[in-house]
């Protein structure tokens, strides 16, 4: 049970203490691991570095989903042990003995009392798991009453092949500002999402914060979550949506509320001063046709097919998290733990020069950008702070 408590909304700092605790019992853990491998894995699933784990919740919704899973899981473990134990017992006890293969055992045809008994047993189990299930369902759509008075923000999520558009709403319900692929939120705040799709069905999921909800073309869906700790949470589209489905990823960055307000203020602003003739990057951005698909607020770039790039330089990832902005060879997990950007911008240049190679089926075509041009363009984009 000790381990289950660890799984509840722990902060990153606190989590290190948890790990220390675990090393002390590591011998026992190893024994358990060998004896009951799958079970042991689930127990440890929450305290190792598993950025997309559904069993390492950092928000209320993920927490209640995780609690429900564990409730059913333990009931299932009991049934598993009973059934498989019986099976093994029967196989050992009633195996035939040499020379007695043709003996006839007692011919029992049935036993009404027993059969009624093992009909009622699953009925009870089913009732035991159905009640908490139904209680939890409403909370996957809207926050419970207990959170009705807590601060909230609303974000419209629009799925595209293969990236996420985030439209932040102000208190009047109008669009405040638009960003893409990286959702910033204040910690301990209810984040209400309305989900839409621009093309096919996508599914928004950031497992440490909340389970999936589909973005269905022609419909509006709702979900919500909150983050109990600051940090970067990773997620990805879960409904198969075409060639680059695997690369339609996202991150949610949870700040304390001061940092969030600062970030939001920047997002509201435009970046008009970049669009000057002396800026070679802007020249390329215009002449290569980038302006046709992308928006840089305050300039003549108002395309809406691709992600809004107004503050691209402040983001950590490229092309819906298909690549990160760290150095080559650094994994996503390492990069999000320690987001040091690559000054050479190698990943960004790779994306600019070979989009379909990075992201199969990408709507952004290869525009024949030379190495020099890529250098200028990448620096231009990275300076869109």
């Amino acid at each position: 049970m000790e381990k289950r408590d660890n799984s509840s909304g722990v902060t990153r700092k606190y989590n290190y203490e948890v790990r220390k605790l675990d090393t002390r019992s590591s011998n026992q853990k190893k024994l358990l691991l060998i004896a009951f491998l799958p079970l042991a894995l689930l127990l440890t699933g929450c305290d190792t570095n598993l950025p997309q784990s559904t069993l390492w919740s950092a928000g209320s919704v993920a927490q209640s989903q995780q609690d429900l899973f564990y409730l059913i899981f333990w009931i299932a473990v009991i049934i598993f042990v009973i059934v498989e134990g019986l099976l093994i017992y029967i196989m050992v006890r009633y195996r035939t003995k040499a020379g007695r293969e043709n003996d006839l055992p007692e011919q029992t045809h049935g036993n009404t009392k027993l059969e009624i008994g093992w009909t009622i047993l699953p009925v009870l189990v089913v009732i035991a798991v159905t009640i908490p299930t139904i209680r939890g369902i409403a909370e996957t759509y809207e926050p419970p009453k207990a959170l009705a008075d807590s601060p909230s923000i609303t974000v419209d999520v629009v799925g595209h092949q293969w990236w996420w558009e985030y439209r932040y709403l102000n208190t009047d319900g109008d669009v405040d500002f638009i960003t893409a692929n990286e959702m910033h939120i204040p910690v301990d705040t209810v984040v209400k999402l309305r989900l839409y799709s621009d093309d096919v069905i996508h599914s928004f999921s950031v497992p440490r914060l909340a389970g999936t909800r589909d973005a269905v073309p022609g419909r509006e869906n709702i979900m919500w979550f909150d983050a109990k700790e600051t940090g970067i949470f990773v997620g990805q589209c879960k409904e198969f949506c075409g060639d680059s489905h695997a690369l339609m990823k996202t991150i949610v960055v949870a700040h304390n509320s001061g940092d969030y307000l600062e970030w939001a203020e920047i997002q509201r602003s435009g970046n008009e001063n970049v669009a000057v003739e002396s800026n070679a990057g802007w020249g390329l951005f215009e002449s290569k046709g980038c302006v046709g698909c992308h928006t840089i607020k305050g300039t003549t770039a108002v395309g809406e097919i691709g992600p809004d790039l107004t503050h691209f330089g402040s983001r950590l990832t490229i092309a819906s998290n298909a690549l990160h902005k760290g150095k080559e060879g650094v994994t996503f997990t390492e990069f999000f733990d320690n987001p040091t950007k690559d000054p050479e911008l190698i990943n960004l240049k790779r994306w600019l020069q070979h989009p379909p190679e990075v992201k199969p089926g990408s709507l952004m075509p290869a525009l024949g950008i030379t190495d020099d041009e890529a250098d200028i363009l990448a620096n231009f984009l990275e300076n869109l702070k």
Binding site: P38, G45, L50, P51, Q52, S53, T54, F69, I72, V83, E84, I90, M91, Y94, T96, D103, L104, P105, E106, Q107, T108, H109, N111, E115, W118, P122, V125, V126, V129, T133, I134, G136, I137, T140, Q161, S197, V200, S203, P207, A210, G211, T212, R213, D214, V216, P217, G218, R219, N221, I222, Q236, C237, F240, D243, H245, A246, T331, F332, E334, G361
Partner: protein
């Protein structure tokens, strides 16, 4: 008139290629089904191995995104529609007439037609491989990814047309078995005396008759959207979720179509190798019916993530949980059957016991995603992949292997090699747990399914490598089986008529059975009819020999249906019609002419 009856004369060859092409014998058709389905089982396996090669390592580039999407789509379609379903039908064909004491199915030529349409449908579904444009939107083919705009290749056309043709085959076959089971049972075989496998075949056939029309509607609407620009599943004018409802109203009963025959097989095998009758026979039958009935009320549990709202979510969560009740009852009845028995560990029995062990795991993991909130985390992750493989591989395939080891002697008069069989069992049992067991964990730590590659350092690398390793072990196991099957069919130990001291009527006749099955139609006075012939003094009586294979009757007097060309010709006509929309109108014209030729020939064909 003489010339007409010459043109329409029936073929007579019982042997050779023409014998197979024109056969209407349920046993030969069963063999055709089995061999074809095993072939596609291998194809589906190769597709799986290719995917595991790609996923063995992170950031892998063995296979492109597009090819990977075709592979996972075709793997599911192949395994479900071209392997497991027809393997079930192969057993229906072989066993239902033998178990009910009949000489053939009710409509022997329709039975042949059903096989040929299946074969042609399978070919149409696989045509895309020749142009590297197989269906690539998943076997579930969610609209509107399947529209011309988002799936411009021919892939989804093959999907629509292939499945429509295959559906025709299933429908014809299922109707045939419903009629056969209702009408052709031996005198005295009341429904409650009917063998349990035939019962499950009966229930499965009824499910098919009711489920296939639903997917047919969906496929026709999707076909119209793609070929004629209708807007059934357009997000602007139609409804993309309509497809999901149609698909899963079919798709969930389909799961029971895949598992009920398997349950029927193990329900025959446990009693034989425990030397005890099936415990609570009526309860096992009734829970089968209950599963089939309740299977219609759970489809939207595949759609919790679509945001149907709290009320539908709750209803479908509750109905889904409830289906655990009859399933649990069945498991307990099987355990009670072997409890107190005299258990012989033949390969067939080992596979059947493996079925209980693995299917239970699949059922239990099912509970965690019947709980809608919990499912929202698990849906579309490898946890679900693990679940369905424990149900379909650990359940259906293990039981089908059990069935093949058990009934092979009846089909070929020879035993499958037991030593190779046990090797096969252990390789598959261990391999399957190594492959699919870790997927539970990988899914719970967030790895989504249908991803052609995954980044490193997410905690997924090691277990993916393990799973890929396990798939190799399984593949070796299947190769051992194929070798065993091929070798034993020709050189296996002669089995005799009743090698297992079994209980049902198929074991009362020669192995392999004569063309006419029963020289004399038996009269049935109890369940487990053959057992009670052998042990007449009640259950504990002393066995006494029963003349098997019937007495020496003169075969000439038994009137059996003659072979016919027309099922094959009709089937070709239907296949050509199916191909019209992806080829040329002239193909359709030829198809209609062939179809008319086939069906008129069929009608006018003389009985002799």
């Amino acid at each position: 008139m003489a010339s007409l009856s010459y043109i329409l004369r029936r073929p007579t060859s019982e042997y050779g290629v023409w014998g197979w092409l024109t056969t209407v014998d349920h046993k030969k058709i069963g063999t055709l089904y089995m061999v074809t389905a095993l072939f596609f089982f291998l194809i589906g396996g190769i597709e799986a191995i290719m995917m595991r090669a790609q996923l063995a390592t992170p950031d892998s580039t063995v296979i492109s995104a597009d090819l990977f999407n075709q592979l996972f789509t075709m793997h599911a379609l192949t395994m479900i529609f071209l392997a497991i379903m027809p393997l079930g039908v192969a057993f229906f064909n072989w066993l239902v007439p033998l178990q009910i004491g009949a000489r053939d199915v009710a409509f022997p030529r329709l039975n042949a037609l059903s096989y040929w349409i299946y074969l042609f449908g399978a070919i149409i579904l696989n045509l895309g491989w020749f142009t590297a444009t197989s269906p690539n939107a998943g076997w579930f083919a969610y609209a509107n990814l399947t529209s011309i705009q988002y799936s411009p290749t021919n892939g989804m056309d093959y999907y629509v047309l292939g499945l429509l043709v295959l559906g025709t085959s299933s429908l014809i076959g299922a109707m045939n078995f419903v009629v056969t089971i209702i009408n052709l049972r031996a005198p005295g075989m009341t429904l409650i005396r009917m063998p349990i496998f035939t019962w499950m075949a009966f229930i499965t056939s009824i499910l098919l008759v009711l489920a296939i029309p639903v997917i047919t509607i969906g496929l026709i609407e999707l076909g119209f959207d793609r070929f004629f620009n209708t807007l059934f599943f357009s997000s602007a004018a139609g409804d993309v979720l309509l497809w999901q409802h149609l698909f899963w109203v079919f798709g969930h009963p389909e799961v029971y179509i895949l598992i009920l025959p398997a349950m029927g097989m193990v329900s025959e095998i446990f009693p034989t190798f425990s030397r005890k009758p099936l415990f609570g026979f009526p309860v096992v039958v009734f829970s089968g019916i209950a599963i089939a009935f309740m299977g219609w009320s759970v489809w939207a549990h595949h759609m919790f993530a679509t945001g149907m709202g709290p009320v539908p979510d709750s209803v479908f969560a509750a109905t889904t949980m409830a289906i655990a009740i009859p399933t649990g009852v069945k498991v307990f009845n099987w355990l009670a059957t072997i409890w107190g028995g005299n258990i012989r560990f033949t390969t067939a029995m080992m596979f059947a016991l493996g079925f209980i062990a693995l299917f239970t795991i699949g059922g239990l993991s099912g509970m965690t995603h019947a709980a809608a909130p919990s499912d929202l985390q698990q849906t579309d992750t490898y946890y679900i992949v693990a679940h369905i493989h424990y149900v379909l591989f650990g359940g259906s395939i293990m039981a089908i292997f059990a069935g093949i080891y058990y009934w092979f002697p009846k089909m070929y008069g020879r035993l499958l090699n037991e030593r190779l069989g046990k090797l096969h069992f252990w390789l598959v049992f261990i391999g399957m747990n190594i492959t699919f067991g870790p997927m539970h964990y990988v899914g719970l730590i967030g790895m989504p399914r249908r991803n052609y590659m995954y980044p490193t350092d997410m905690g997924w690398d090691f277990w993916n490598m393990v799973a890929s390793g396990g798939s190799i072990i399984m593949a070796i196991g299947v190769l051992v089986f194929i070798h065993n099957f091929y070798r034993s069919a020709r050189k296996g130990e002669i089995s005799g008529d009743d090698p297992w001291d079994a209980r049902t009527l198929e074991w009362s006749i020669a192995s392999p059975p004569p063309h006419y099955n029963f020289a004399e139609i038996p009269t049935v006075t109890s369940g487990d009819a053959f057992w009670h012939q052998k042990y007449p003094d009640g259950d504990k009586g002393v066995p006494h020999p029963v003349p098997s294979g019937g007495e020496d009757h003169d075969e000439v007097h038994i009137e059996m249906p003659r072979p016919s060309f027309y099922p094959l010709i009709t089937g070709i006509g239907i296949a050509l019609l199916g191909l019209t929309l992806v080829t040329h109108p002239i193909v359709g014209v030829v198809g209609i002419i062939t179809l008319l030729w086939g069906s008129y020939g069929w009608m006018l064909e003389p009985a002799e």
